[in-house]
């Protein structure tokens, strides 16, 4: 029988938090790192609009999640694990989760539940570590990476809920190269779907009977930070990031869309670095206070956020704004 790490490699598991880092490599890095105890963290705190698969998986497959964590803990020879919970998710799933945790706690495993008010920065793994440690919630300087210096300065393995589900499936020999898709927006059948991971956006909409009959475009991989594509591009484009797919009518007012995005960024910026802290605020103000969108000013700020923000949150703003401009509005600024 093959060992688990080989199976994970063969299954080509990648992180499902959005960054797609190879899971086996992550495991080996934490394994190699010096320091005791090592920690395993389940990140169950999706905070971006349009992303709600973690709640679905937690409700439906709690045993698999815990199993994934225990397998990782066994591999790392540790008994210490944490949950970073979106507090409302914990409320909704604890009746299913807690009995399973108790079973493992009898065997000496320790699970600590950290509940955070839903926030996007909680998805940044080093900010999450600060939150659990009771420090100000903002990202840490990398390197060192959490695999070397993580929670309480110890080597730490942070996995998204879906990744843990996949690990359990690999161990059971039941892994399918599928992923969870969150479908939302102006469609008939919104919800979470578990389908092959290589479908095009068009296929996903088709298979879930969501293909719109009106002029549409979509944002994929995050309701704020995701890529914006038109209906033609949807025939080639596959899913990215955190697995969300939001459909908009081509009649959607640009100002309304920008307001949603910029409000999200302004609200979720942790306040650490200038471009994201001040830039996101100014972007929101620029759209809110002007009836005409001042594109030139907006792109100056988007550019500086993309190129100089500290973490992926601020950097990511370039993706939706630029792709929306190019693919939908066909504008050059």
């Amino acid at each position: 029988m093959k060992n688990l790490i080989t199976k994970i490699k063969e299954a080509k598991l990648v992180g499902r938090g959005g960054a797609c880092f190879p899971t086996a490599t992550k495991w080996e890095m934490v394994k190699k790192a010096k320091g005791n105890p090592k920690y395993v963290i389940c990140n169950a705190s999706e905070g971006e609009m349009g992303v709600f698969k973690d709640l679905y998986i937690l409700s439906k497959y709690p045993a698999e999640i815990v199993k994934g964590m225990v397998l990782a803990m066994n591999y790392l020879k540790t008994k210490e694990a944490y949950f970073n919970f979106n507090s409302s998710y914990y409320k909704q799933t604890k009746h299913k989760l807690n009995p399973i945790l108790k079973k493992f706690e009898k065997k000496g495993y320790k699970f600590t539940i950290y509940k955070e008010s839903p926030s996007y920065i909680g998805g940044e793994e080093t900010a999450l570590l600060n939150a659990i440690e009771g420090k100000r919630i903002e990202p840490r300087i990398k390197p060192p990476f959490p695999s070397d210096v993580g929670l309480f300065q110890k080597p730490t393995l942070v996995h998204n809920v879906e990744t843990l589900f996949n690990i359990a499936k690999v161990a059971e020999g039941k892994f399918k190269p599928n992923r969870f898709y969150c479908l939302d927006g102006k469609i008939k059948n919104p919800g979470v779907y578990y389908l092959a991971d290589n479908l095009t956006i068009y296929q996903i909409l088709e298979q879930t009977k969501n293909l719109p009959k009106y002029g549409w475009f979509a944002q994929i991989g995050g309701g704020a930070s995701g890529l914006v594509i038109n209906a033609t591009q949807a025939k080639l484009q596959k899913m990215t990031g955190a697995g969300s797919l939001e459909v908009h009518s081509t009649k959607k007012k640009p100002r309304a869309l920008l307001l949603e995005w910029f409000k999200f960024y302004a609200k979720e910026s942790c306040g650490k670095c200038t471009p994201c802290r001040e830039g996101s605020y100014q972007l929101y103000q620029l759209v809110k206070k002007n009836k005409q969108i001042p594109w030139k000013k907006i792109m100056d700020i988007v550019d500086v956020m993309g190129k100089t923000s500290f973490c992926a949150l601020g950097k990511s703003i370039v993706v939706p704004v630029k792709s929306y401009l190019t693919n939908i509005l066909k504008k050059k600024i």
């Binding site: 300087i141 942790c270 200038t274 001040e278 605020y281 700020i301 550019d303 500086v304 190129k307």
Partner: protein, 577 residues
Amino acid sequence: MKKVNIHINGKKIICDQKESVLQAAIRNDIEIPHFCYHEDLPLGVRCKTCLVETDNGIVTTSCDLTVKPGLKIKTDSPKVKKLRDENLELLLADHKKTCSKCSKGYFCKTARLMMKFKISGTKYHKDKIDKPIHKFGNAIEFDPQACISCNKCVEVCQNIGIGFLRLEGKGSKTHVAYNPDPKVDCIYCGQCTAHCPVGAIREQSQISPVEKLLKNKKDHAKGRADKILIAQMAPSVRASIGEEFGLKPGSNMEGEMVTALRRLGFDYVFDVNMGADITTYVEATELAERINGHGKLPMITSCCPGWVKYAEFYHPEILPNLTKARSPQIHSGGAYKTWWAKKAGVNPKKIVIVSLMPCTAKKYESKFEKLKINGMYPVDHVLTTRETGALLKKHNIDLPKLKKGKLDSPGTYSGAAAIYGASGGVMESALRSAYYFVTGKELKKVEFKAVRGMQGIKEATIKFGKKDIKVAVATMAKNFHILIEEIKKHPKKYHYIEMMACPGGCIGGGGQPYPNSERIIAERTKALYKIDEKMKLRKAHLNPQVIDFFENYVKKLPKTKQDDLLLTRYWKRKKFE
């Protein structure tokens, strides 16, 4: 260490292997704007203004970019300019509105930087953070509105060992705030104010009451003014105030300051150094008594009000160990309003004393009711070094260009007083006199180099005749804690301990010019020891003014009056008390 060659703007620069590009640039006087980098504090990578372009065309922060062989850096390329200017405008949005409240004066490095890089500060407008200005005692205040979230104050407070400050809020509402924990309180050391690049956290200014007094003086120039204005300068101020005028750290400006203060309109210019000699005299006498079995050991200094506040709030159990001696500015202020007033034949109630201090906690100390003499505060106003610089500049006094003046008569001081500003200086001064008080002999070799330097804790053993006197010197609260724990474990380990809240002692004080760093502090410190070295009079108890004060004045007072003038007392304090 291995050396690495890089190029910045085409200029070859030899760097240490582990150095960052920003450090290399600073070392070579190549200006890269930065707000959140400080050489003594952890890397923040927050302000994102220290941008540079690397040879592969990427713009990145230079504070966290480690040098590597052959690296080619441009600090002013069009790409850099565009992104840097945008971040500076975002960071300093509306900053000019808070300028008028700032005491950084005309040498403000942020204002100069805005001018050099053509940053308007008006491109963006920021909504008000709806939080009032918070005052810590009468020493320090912060204005959440002016805060640029660089986090330096928070880090330096942590580094000192207090952790009173923290950032609060998310996004653009992020601002400095204080820790509500009832077990954590500010000790007024003011290191935060010496690390804030924009004056959001600053001393509570006393420039205007002092200016009012000076104006009143000038308006009644022909002898009708009813106040006698006396300025007294702390040991450290003369070694640092030049920095406010662009001079190198450690330029001794004593003579120029005397001229400047006269020009401002002060009637007399005395010196806190004279007060330091009184303090040494009182403290060394008490140390000798305690060593001879009368009183608790180890005896601990009390001239740093930051340390005293620390002891009163965090460790009241240690208060019996503190010397009862008052601090130098309080000693000399009291002496002027009694002994000197009598000699000069003036009404003490007419005397107004302005102390120029490297310290924010001295503002707090000056308003203690317990220190009043005949109903008068010994010191009426305290200006920090920064405020002093701002006041001079406001009155168009270009300090470095002035001729040197001489202190007025009771300003005479010993070399022992001159070194009070340096960590270990109070200890050294007291030992020079205590040796005499304990052994009856004058010390020949007066320098105690083991207690000098920047280390957080220093220890030494000194021979007083056949007796070994064990001493320790600590700076910063984190080290106070270590020494107090040590005393509890080994009550007989030390005879005498000096405690100072700021790194390097008063010379690195919270009222000193911005920037304040260990490297700069070391340069200022050299100036203090140089003054001492050059003096013939190097022991406090041999200062003729001090002898006159004690022999011809203090000794003739009833005991309670003597105590009122020389001693103080301590008690446990609550948060914000």
